[in-house]
Symmetry: C2
Subunit: 152 residues, 2 copies
C-alpha cells in the first residue's frame, strides 16, 4: 500500500513534469511563431523594394514609399519579445542570441533606425539615395542573420 | 519545318503561360503568408489577454497593458494589402471578401478602433472595464472570421 502510494505520487509528479514541459514547449512555439511572423512581414515589405533596387522590377517611387512605410510599422512590433531566454526550439535561432543579448537588441534597434531613414529618403523620391539607403537597411538584416541565425 | 516551328512556338507560349501562372501563385502565396503572419501576431497579443480575462492566468495589469499596446501596433500594418483580389489560394479566405470589399475593410478598421480603445482602457487598470473592452475587441475578430473565413 505504501509502495502503491509512492508509485502513484511518482506517476502524478512525472505527469505534472510532462505537462509543464509541454506547456513550456507550447509557449516557446508561440514565441517562435510570433518572431517568424514578424520576419515574414519584413519580407513582404523588403521583397518588392529589393526587386526595384536590383532592377528586376521597374522603379516605382510610390510603391517604394508605401513599402518603406509598412516596414517601419513592422519594425515597431517588439521583436525581442519573441525571443524568451533559450527559445531555440525548432528554429534557426542560435544560442549566441542570449549570450549577447545587448548586441542582439542593438541590432533590432539598428533595423528600426535604418528603416526610419529609408522611409524618410523614400519620401524624397531620390532614386539613387533610396537605393543606397535600402542597401544600408539590408546590411542590418544580413549582419544579424550572419551572427545569430544558423543556416538550415 | 513549318509544323516544327509552330510546335516550338506553342511550347514556348505554353511555357510562358506556365511561368506566369507560377509567378502569380508565388505572388498570391506571398500575400497569404503576409496576412497570416499578421494574424499570428494578433494571436500572440490576444492570447495572454484572453487567458487573463477567462481566469486561466492571474490578472496582471502591466502585462495586459503591454499586450494591448502590441496589438494596436500590429493592427497598424496594412492587413487589407494581404488580400489581393481573388487570392484564396491555399487559405481559409472566402471569395465573399472581394464581393464585399468595403465591408471587409470596415471590419479591419473596427479592429483598429476597438484595439485602440482597449489600449486606452488597459492604461486605466480598471479590471472590469478592461475585460469588457477585451470582449468587444474579440467580437470584431469573431464577426470577421464568421463572415469571411471558411472553417478548415
Amino acid at each position: 500500500m505504501k509502495k502503491g502510494l509512492l508509485q502513484s505520487a511518482l506517476i502524478i509528479s512525472l505527469l505534472g513534469a510532462a505537462t509543464s514541459a509541454s506547456q513550456a514547449e507550447v509557449r516557446i512555439q508561440g514565441a517562435i511563431d510570433f518572431r517568424e511572423s514578424i520576419m515574414t512581414t519584413f519580407k513582404w515589405y523588403m521583397g518588392p523594394m529589393g526587386s526595384m533596387v536590383k532592377g528586376r522590377m521597374p522603379f516605382d517611387a510610390e510603391l517604394f514609399k508605401s513599402r518603406a512605410e509598412g516596414l517601419v510599422k513592422a519594425t515597431r512590433l517588439d521583436l525581442a519579445e519573441g525571443y524568451p531566454k533559450g527559445s531555440v526550439g525548432d528554429s534557426e535561432a542560435k544560442p549566441e542570441i542570449w549570450e549577447n543579448w545587448d548586441e542582439f537588441e542593438a541590432k533590432i534597434q539598428s533595423l528600426r533606425d535604418e528603416a526610419a531613414k529609408l522611409q524618410e529618403v523614400a519620401a524624397t523620391g531620390d532614386e539613387a539615395a533610396i537605393k543606397a539607403q535600402f542597401g544600408e537597411t539590408g546590411k542590418v538584416c544580413g549582419s544579424c542573420h550572419k551572427q545569430f541565425r544558423s543556416k538550415k
